[in-house]
């Protein structure tokens, strides 16, 4: 069973507040999911199996070129008077 403390820790590192309702029902639901993916343990740990079958070559990357964007368009969603506003650090 995922303990309440474990759940709170996961929520904290994920930067998500959980509602009381979620705090109550998530431990069982997440536990069931973890039990389900536990079957992966049975898979032999064969380190010779490659992890990436599709490789991207460096030469295939596009050139790192500066293109001028429409600043007004870009900032449409984010700014107040031309500034990006964030919460206080402390």
């Amino acid at each position: 069973m995922i303990s309440k403390e474990e759940l709170e820790h996961l929520a904290q590192i994920s930067r998500i507040n959980l509602t009381d309702h979620e705090l109550q029902k998530f431990p069982t639901q997440l536990e069931k999911t973890i039990e389900y993916i536990d079957i992966l343990e049975q898979l032999a740990s064969d380190d010779s199996v490659t992890l990436d079958l599709q490789e991207l070559k460096f030469e295939e990357l596009r050139k790192d070129e500066i293109k001028v964007s429409d600043e007004k368009q870009l900032c449409k969603n984010i700014t107040e008077d031309g500034f990006l506003r964030g919460p206080k650090m402390k």
Binding site: S14, N17, I37, L40, L51, Q54, N77, P87, K88
Partner: protein, 481 residues
């Protein structure tokens, strides 16, 4: 004569070119259809009626002045609401992106616009594509046009339902673990998840980017071919995209060897299994031998999928801090940490569950146990399938193991919900193309057949689907709405 709102995409283009009707007539007809069925089906999150009408006028002007028109001129396309559309709100069916208006078009949208397609609006989905029913949409669930008490499938449920209900000619969906094929099966339309890399993902709002592809949902194989060719191709803005050969409608069918995946049959409802055997008979009729095959690593596929998808989701969705894009949530006097956690409380339950599981499988101590094993399984599965494709041109099975089910039936049991994806995740893990084709009905509920091919083997999927479509007579429009 076929009613205007029942026309297929290529018939729309023909009708316009021959002057049988104008693009404005067509848009107006579809808008009337929407007015009638949308209150029951709820496919759309946002409708851009004005935009659609003005695009139609531009096409009519071009036709009048005998200018060239594109391959999809006048065709009405619905877009899943996780694909960025410049100037049109793109919500991912999430509260978190309620007010987000993209400042650019996804590459697929740019291509569609260049082909003359008319974008009518944004279609419902499970929040950020996480779900199989649209019940996890933060707006309202979409209903299945064939039976309004049943789910339309998901996550591209709005796309599947809108095409089936005649609210658009064709639609775009996205498929991370079956999100195009599941609603295609449940709504009796045709949906394709392309090979990973065939279609650019630039502008698709990421959920699990190593697994997902954008793809078409249509009412005919011919439409699907046109649409797929328009959205395929190498894009400098998506380095995982690759050049590919155009697909064509086959003149005649060459013999294809078909493998029926045994494990997918045994785990399915009886009615669904029957339909797959019916399909195998049809394959034999068109000269394609079928035999049963087994996939050794199949029972690891779904746990691997949920491990990888959740891990990628927890990382991809970390960007929603409500500073750069988001919804109305004042910064007020909140401190740095508290603000983000408070804002992100507004994710829906399923999204939160997946982010938490993702954080769990990526934590030190569990990384090797889950994440690395899942990636290893992914390689093994792909290698096993590539081996099978040396012998078989197509691997088939039911798209969904069950029939469309009632609302609320699985919503409180995540594992039950995840299990419905068991047949579809294979193609995402292996990066191979897969199509869902309507194959029959049981008690008025649609059943879909899934066909898979080797990477970039879409032509074989189309060859077989085109022939099967000709000989299997499936009703195209639900009578209930």
């Amino acid at each position: 004569m076929t009613r205007l709102d029942e026309l297929l995409a290529y018939e729309v283009v023909e009708g316009l070119t021959e002057g049988q009707f104008t693009a404005e007539d067509y848009v107006t007809t579809i808008l009337k259809r929407i007015e009638k069925v949308e209150p029951k089906v709820h496919s759309f999150i946002t409708l851009d009626t004005d935009g659609a009408l003005s695009s139609a006028k531009i096409i009519d002007k071009k036709l009048k002045e005998k200018e060239a028109i594109g391959q999809l001129a006048g065709v009405i396309v619905g877009i899943k609401d996780n694909i960025s559309t410049q100037g049109i709100r793109t919500t991912c069916a999430s509260k978190i992106l309620e007010n987000y208006v993209p400042t650019y078009d996804a590459t697929v949208i740019k291509s569609l616009k260049e082909s003359g397609a008319i974008l009518l609006g944004k279609l419902n989905l499970d929040e950020f594509g996480m779900g199989s029913t649209t019940e996890y949409s933060r707006y309202q669930p979409t209903r299945n046009p064939w039976n309004l008490d049943c789910v339309p499938g998901g996550s591209s449920g709005g796309s599947g339902a809108a095409v089936a209900a005649g609210e658009c000619t064709i639609a775009l969906g996205s498929d991370t673990g079956g999100s195009i094929r599941c609603p295609s099966s449940f709504c009796s339309v045709i949906g394709l998840k392309p090979t990973y890399g065939r279609v650019s993902r630039y502008g698709l709002i990421s959920y699990a980017n190593s697994l997902e592809q954008i793809g078409p949902i249509c009412r005919s194989v011919r439409d699907l071919v046109i649409m797929l060719n328009i959205i395929s191709g190498k894009d400098t803005f998506d380095n995982t995209s690759m050049p590919s050969n155009p697909i064509s409608i086959p003149k005649r069918l060459n013999k294809l060897n078909v493998g029926i995946i045994k494990e997918l049959i045994t785990g399915s409802d009886q009615e669904v299994t029957k339909s797959v055997y019916f399909a195998s008979e049809k394959f034999k009729e068109i000269g394609c031998p079928c035999e049963e095959v087994s996939i050794k690593n199949l029972h690891y596929a779904l746990p691997s999928y949920y491990t990888l998808a959740s891990a990628e989701a927890s990382s991809n969705l970390a960007r929603y801090d409500n500073l750069r894009y988001g919804f109305d949530y004042s910064i007020g006097e909140y401190k740095w940490d508290t603000y983000f956690s408070n804002v992100r409380e507004n994710f829906g339950e399923e999204v939160k569950r997946r982010i938490l599981i993702g954080s769990y499988v990526l934590s030190s101590g569990y990384y090797g146990k889950y994440y690395l094993k899942a990636r290893r399984l992914r390689s093994l599965l792909r290698l096993e399938l590539l081996e099978l494709f040396k012998k078989y041109d197509l691997l088939i099975g039911p798209t969904m193991p069950i029939l469309p089910f009632k609302f609320g039936e699985k919503i409180d049991d995540p594992i039950k919900m995840y299990l419905v994806d068991i047949n579809t995740v294979i193609a995402n893990l292996a990066g191979i193309p897969a199509i869902s084709l309507p194959i029959g009905f049981s008690n008025g509920l649609p059943i879909g057949l899934q066909l898979m091919a080797a990477p970039f083997g879409e032509q074989k999927l189309i060859d077989a689907s085109y022939e099967l479509e000709k000989i299997i007579n499936i009703p195209r429009r639900p009578n209930s709405i």
